[in-house]
């Protein structure tokens, strides 16, 4: 996979006619100036990347473009004509569609209906047969196989994202906004998505592409705009930007990309899994994990990586095989039991499965080990809770005015840090991290990576499940590759390259 803008089209699209122009947009929420005099031009046949740390104003701009928010100042021009975008429906009428970071699906509607749900001109009557057929066709162009008749409830995040993309494509849009569309896609799916995005570009669609994955941005973007603190810092053709300079613009200082973690000295054997399986989900998984070791789990979405994590944590207990933890054979049946054995699992879905958003940071952090904070009468010692939270706030530099704030008010990256704190607070021996950097910005990502290194150095055994291949490669001592519920290979750090991992993930057996 390329790290530079090698695949960029020569000449760029700077001369193409502008479709959507945002001029001098400003938006304030209470005391925060979310956007300050921002101007951005999207041109037909151009993929425009928008970079910036969380809180830089990207989401606000997107919401203005899609009619969710109204700007305080500034104007929006569509093909040169000033327009007002009063509602999401209006945005859609103007041919502006967005794919959000968190899929906005209707869990009870089936896949096909989700794809076509926002079509205003569907007619009066639903022609299910036709809809299924068309949905299947659109998904086929995406290279995704989904049962279009099944309800969206229970789809994996990747599948949900595919449906979102299919939804946008079905709308025949002129301006397509993609807010972190790849956050939950695996490399293979990202490849297919990019092929599709390029197709759309070639058809003259203007695309605004937001991503925290640098390598992807430079793989696909024609021009790059960087936001910082609600202000536009730079807009340049992608050829003139390097990842390093873009990051410098984003964070306001120089910063390194993924550093390959120096392998820590291997401790004693912590975990040994033999022939682990769960009926119908995954089977025959065997690996060892030592203290201080990071074992990466790579593979396509749905390959069963998360399911292994869930089995080790007792949410969906394994039905076959053996787990030996600290030299003792254990049958893990519940999260409670897993926790008592020193297992911690940081879920990939922090909104649904990870955090209680309306509750305070400190309450979230103390939740798994609440008993530690109780007086003899069973009352909670809030000051002790606060002290713990304060400790983690400093240690993980969680950016918040205080630890009594509801988690919902934090940015994604800081929420992720709260998640991490919550589980570190259980003093785990085995830490399972499921997509720990999904949807968080570069700065926060680097901090999480540094944290992983520190934890490993402290002797914690870490399982790192990630679809961000460079991340897995940089962080792991060894990489276990899964495919369709089966273990394909365990690659040693040196042997693990994007090439070898992808080959294994696509179905080629390696001799480990």
């Amino acid at each position: 996979m390329s790290w530079t803008a090698a695949q960029q089209r020569p000449g760029g699209a700077a001369t193409a006619p502008p479709i959507l122009e945002m001029r001098g947009i400003a938006k304030r929420f209470g005391a925060t100036q979310a956007l300050d005099d921002v101007s951005l031009t999207l041109r037909a046949g151009e993929i425009h990347a928008l970079l910036g740390e969380n809180g830089a104003g990207k989401s606000t701009l997107i919401k203005i473009m899609t009619g969710v928010y109204q700007p305080d100042r500034g104007e929006i021009l569509l093909s040169g004509q000033p327009i007002a975008i009063g509602s999401a429906a209006e945005a859609q009428r103007h041919g502006i569609a967005a794919i959000y970071q968190e899929p906005l699906l209707f869990p009870d509607l089936n896949v096909a209906e989700n794809i076509f749900v926002s079509h205003q001109n569907r007619g009066v009557v639903t022609n299910w047969r036709k809809m299924f057929r068309e949905a299947e066709a659109i998904l086929a162009t995406l290279g995704v196989t989904l049962d279009v008749r099944s309800p969206a409830r229970g789809l994996t995040l990747a599948a949900q994202q595919s449906v979102e993309i299919a939804k946008a494509i079905s709308l025949n849009v002129r301006v397509l906004i993609m807010d972190e569309p790849t956050a939950s896609l695996s490399a293979h799916e990202v490849g297919q998505l990019f092929r599709l995005v390029r197709d759309l570009r070639d058809q003259g669609v203007a695309i605004l592409f937001v991503s925290h994955r640098m390598e992807e941005v430079f793989q696909i973007a024609d021009s790059v705009t960087v936001f910082r603190d609600g202000r536009l810092i730079s807009t340049r053709p992608a050829a003139e930007v390097s990842p390093q300079s873009a990051i410098a613009d984003m964070v306001g200082r120089e910063m390194g990309l993924f550093q390959r973690r120096a392998p820590a000295p291997k401790g004693e054997k912590l975990l040994s899994v033999q022939g682990l399986g769960r009926t119908g989900v995954f089977s025959d998984v065997s690996f060892d994990l030592h203290r201080g070791e990071v074992l990466g789990f790579a593979g396509l979405i749905g390959a069963g990586r998360t399911d292994i994590g869930l089995a080790l944590f007792g949410i969906e207990p394994a039905t076959a095989g053996q787990i030996v933890l600290n030299g003792k054979t254990e049958t893990i049946r519940s999260p409670r039991q897993a926790m008592s054995l020193g297992v911690a699992y940081v879920s990939e879905d922090r909104r649904q499965l990870g955090l209680s958003l309306p509750m305070s940071i400190s309450a979230n952090i103390s939740l798994p080990v609440l008993s530690r904070y109780l007086t003899r009468l069973g009352l909670i010692r809030t000051s002790q809770e606060r002290d713990t939270a304060e400790g983690f706030r400093k240690r993980l530099s969680i950016r918040t005015p205080n630890v009594e704030l509801p988690v919902a008010k934090l940015s994604g990256g800081n929420q992720q840090k709260v998640m991490l704190s919550k589980w570190l607070n259980t003093h785990p021996a085995l830490l399972i991290l499921d997509e720990p950097t999904r949807g968080i910005d570069v700065g926060a990502k680097a901090e999480v990576h540094a944290m992983i290194g520190e934890l490993a150095a402290e002797g914690i055994g870490i399982i790192l499940i990630s679809s961000d291949l460079p991340e897995v490669l940089a962080m792991s001592d060894r990489v276990l590759v899964m495919r369709e519920g089966r273990q394909m290979a365990i690659l040693d750090g040196g042997a693990a390259t994007s090439q070898t991992v992808m080959t294994a993930a696509m179905g080629q057996e390696f001799a480990a």
Binding site: G67, V68, S87, A88, A89, E90, A91, Q92, L104, L105, F106, P107, D108, L109, N110, E113, V117, S118, Q120, R122, G123, V124, V125, T126, W128, G143, T145, L146, D147, R149, S150, P151, G280, V281, E484, M506, G507
Partner: protein
Amino acid sequence: MKWLQRHIRPEQVRELSLLLLIVAAVLIFGSMIDGYYTSRTFNRITSSVAIITVVAVGQTLVVLTRNIDLAVGSIVGCTAYFTGAQLAAHHGMPPVVAVLIAMALGCVMGAINGALVAYGRVPSIIVTLGSLAIFRGILIDYSGARTVTTDSLPKWLLELPRLNFVTIGDLDIRAMFALAVGIVLLFQIGTSFLNVARQFYAMGSNPDAAELIGMPARRIVFSAFVLSGTLSGLAGFMFLARFGSITVEAARGMELQVVAAVVVGGVNIFGGSGTVFGAMLGAIMIGTLEQSLFRLQISEFWRDAILGLLILLAVASDAVILNRLRAIWARTDLKLVARDSASPAEAKR
């Protein structure tokens, strides 16, 4: 089997398990009660569920949007009484006008609820808990404690409950039951195929997303309540025709029966899933249990305890059957997907 599983989802045959349970219940009762399989039993059950079913259809629409309408009992009572009073005063009133009056009144009451929920942003349970009391209060004031009596009503109305829609062999399908089934069919088809109606599902499934993609969220919720009110109005008319003498107590407590029918019928109380057909089956299930229990030679005092137990068992076994179905589907799904996804990857190599 494979083909079946690909084209029919457990969610679509959800009602099947309930249907099986109803059949099982009928068979069991049939073996315990002499002369159970008669047209009379059929008539008792169908007539007793017809009114509940019509109200349950409206309730389903409301519940689909993640709301609840507890005022239906009061709306049925009010419309039954008011329409009855009008018919008593104006004997020459054409039947159609009477039905329209009932539906219009129900519509207005539903619209009040709907406006408060959708535009006033007051949670539906609060609105309808309140209007449950207020509507009934208005009725008590309006009635002046008089009863609408059977002899004050026109003859055609009193004969309505006896009217047969069609007779198949021994079985008389009464017009009121046929009307209820017709409404269920109408709304079942509507909610399955009309794009406007699919929005009810979308709203209940994910209200935030619905609003974000520009669905007229408020209008959807509003129209659900209006439809619920209108159908309750129609049910009020049916109530008047069936029971003839209407006191201010008419249909008191019906909301619980209706909610029970909807819940037993598998409509998710948190919105988004379920069908009006399911709600009808729920009503029939409860109606069958009630009517059949009465026929058993057991003490009058034992009925409610057994009814409660049977409802619980119905809900539980329904859930168990559905979970089994889902598990079977999920297992084959996995195989299918595995096979499908294997092919393009191999083709590429």
